[in-house]
Symmetry: C2
Subunit: 259 residues, 2 copies
């Protein structure tokens, strides 16, 4: 981000940092739905999912999640686009999957906008870190099982020294661990948790594309979940839930009307 203070931009439009929730259009907040209808322009990526993106008129949206050669648009370019549209006086929605402020880089966008004098509003959303377990019958906290829950990203290699995630400390909390973007590196961090002393029989669940028509769930333990992932065929995007709460699914799933 630029540290330069450009002062207030008197004619600038407002940028709304909006999360879409997990993917079911009915899990948009009423405010997100209204802002998407009213916006002059929407910048989104793929994660909100087809059912939500299809609600947006083609001439008022830009997919900044992909580019010509399959690369991702750099964050610096997205930041600059937000500023440009707002300086044109437009009401701009920046739409992210889940919640913008939970591993969504909304914080960086907010800082950039503020540094460039653009007014912005944060519109909190249903985070997939809570919703994906929930719709699979798993509460991330439970009085009998977990008095804390930690959210962490799974895209770092835990064996590399630059990894900033302290898996041993997360295991020591005794609470639930929810891993976002953690399908590919599942073997790495389940190993790290086993090495940290977490019991091998700790229940684990994977929820792929929660609330999408093709939602899939796989369950197992710290020791068996990699095989379960492969036999069910779980692919990104998916959420991993680690902890005794993951075992509650079994006792409720027969009457769970979400599935």
């Amino acid at each position: 981000m630029s540290g330069t203070d450009f002062g207030t931009e008197p004619d600038a439009g407002t940028v709304y940092l909006v999360g879409s929730g997990p993917g079911d259009p009915e899990l948009l907040t009423c405010k997100a739905r209204r802002l998407l209808e009213q916006a002059d322009f929407v910048l989104h990526d793929k994660l909100p999912g087809p059912k939500i993106i299809d609600l947006l008129p083609d001439d008022r949206r830009k997919d900044v999640g992909k580019r010509a050669h399959g690369d991702r648009t750099p964050q610096s370019e997205i930041n600059e686009l937000l500023v440009q549209h707002a300086r044109d006086g437009q009401s701009v929605v920046r739409l992210k999957g889940g919640d913008s402020f939970v591993f969504g880089r909304g914080g960086e966008e907010a800082e950039y906008l503020a540094a460039h004098g653009i007014p912005f509003e944060v519109v909190p959303a249903v985070t997939s870190a809570v919703a994906a377990p929930a719709v699979a019958g798993i509460p991330v906290t439970h009085r009998d099982h977990a008095s804390s829950v930690s959210f962490v990203t799974g895209h770092e290699d835990p064996t590399k020294p630059e990894s900033t995630v302290n898996w041993a400390a997360l295991a020591d909390t005794g609470g639930t661990i929810v891993v976002l973007m953690g399908v590919t590196r599942l073997p790495d961090y389940t190993d790290a948790l086993l090495e940290a002393g977490m019991p091998a029989e700790t229940p684990v669940a994977l929820v792929e594309r929660a609330t999408w028509p093709n939602q899939q769930v796989a369950t197992g333990t710290l020791e068996t979940i990699v095989d379960a992932r492969d036999s069910v065929g779980i692919e990104p995007p998916a959420i991993t839930v680690i902890g005794d709460v993951a075992g509650t699914r079994e006792s409720v799933v027969e009457f769970l009307a979400n599935e």
Copy 2:
């Protein structure tokens, strides 16, 4: 919960375990809004807040958060009411503040319903643990500051042996800590975190009644936040955010249109 399996109840209505979000009625999900309009009966407590509770017709709702002598309704009684209304064939909404599955006892309700053969659906919501920091300009994760975030309740006394919260492990994660229901015991757990070696200058923010008309924010450090709480007059319900991310508010608040 009862472990007895009563089998399926063929004529039972469905119970919807619905979170209201932090309090702004526009932060209800579209699905929550629809279910509240369609429900035969709504069981709620106080935390959804007056703006949302006032949307509900008086003859189709019951406040199970209070009783004649100021006591809380026991959870067992709420569970039983949910089953009774569903057995009468009603479509029932159990409405909680925030998200039902984040320190909301939704897991216990789900288990009780399943054990009594009542179909239920979980409707995830905007959790105050993410939303309260967000509307105050604080992202709970940030690439420069926090690669994990942990949610924990603050109503336990950390000096008592029966406390199940491992504050030292939470400090060791190096990530953001968000404390729900943590106004009263703020001195206890800030002390516990300092003793665990967390730096005294770690930024801390308190957000009271996020998205309500009378929202209040207080900021400080692990060492100064108790004084800041008292001088601003922060009262429950409030969320505590501990970690470097709490310091980002200062750089964005001038352009934050939420306030």
